[in-house]
Amino acid sequence: MLLALSATAIVIVVLLWEVMAPTVAEWWERHRARRAVVPGFDHDPGRERRAEQRARQLLKSCVNEEEWAMYRDLGFIRVWGRGGEGVEYAYLIYPHKPIIAYLPQTGVLLNEYCVEFLDEERPYGSRRLPDSDDVLAKWMALTGDERRLIDSANMHLPGRQVDPKMVRRDLWRLSQWERRRIAGDRRRDAGQLPA
């Protein structure tokens, strides 16, 4: 009798273990995860703003006056393509968005080049560069070695990441902005505006 009860008890325990084991293991993993020490970073709301300000100064010191004014006023920079074999093309550089290639004569959008510059040192827990540093990295890579950057990027048709309507609107804004600048330069040359 005792032997039969013992055998039954053992079978029950084994069956229960089979049923409960995954639940117990999951509970234990969750318990360990809750108690694990996760490296934290002191949140400083002004730090990213200060970093962005420094990045803007660095960008301003590298690009020319027109490109800086373009970025300041419009939020992107146009860089002329250097290949093309006679066909004039250009890129629009936005912070943390794909690089847009287009034909300035017609406004036709050619491609989106998805490229990232991730800071693996994660200075404050994030690999993401400040906006102006991202623009500077794209500008340096495009003007310094356009082919290498394009080869590093993932190429897509227009519209995959960036709304073509927004890009066309930005191209229109750029044309208006350039007209105003040219008009301002003419007035300045004519002595109607202070330099």
């Binding site: 100064q57 490109e67 991730l118 890579a141």
Partner: protein, 77 residues
């Protein structure tokens, strides 16, 4: 200099001074070993600006006042 949550000065010195040049070379190689790209901002004709990518210390123009390191490009999105 290096972008990355604000400009960071890595090393500075006069490459004409042997000791300082050695330190600059070491700092340059250390950044490239970390996988960074290096570029020198240049002013071209008619005020046009561009960058010159450099892969070795010897490629840096002698009159360059700074080299900027930035993370290498990777396909994204």
């Amino acid at each position: 200099m290096k972008p990355g949550h604000g400009e960071v000065l890595i090393a500075e010195g006069d490459p004409e001074v042997t000791e300082e040049e050695r330190e600059l070379i070491e700092a340059f190689r250390a950044q490239l070993d970390l996988g960074m790209w290096a570029a020198v901002p240049l002013t071209c004709s008619a005020g046009r600006r561009e960058a010159q990518m450099v892969k070795s210390f010897e490629e840096i123009p002698r009159d360059a006042d700074r080299v900027i390191f930035f993370p290498r490009a990777a396909g994204g999105c």
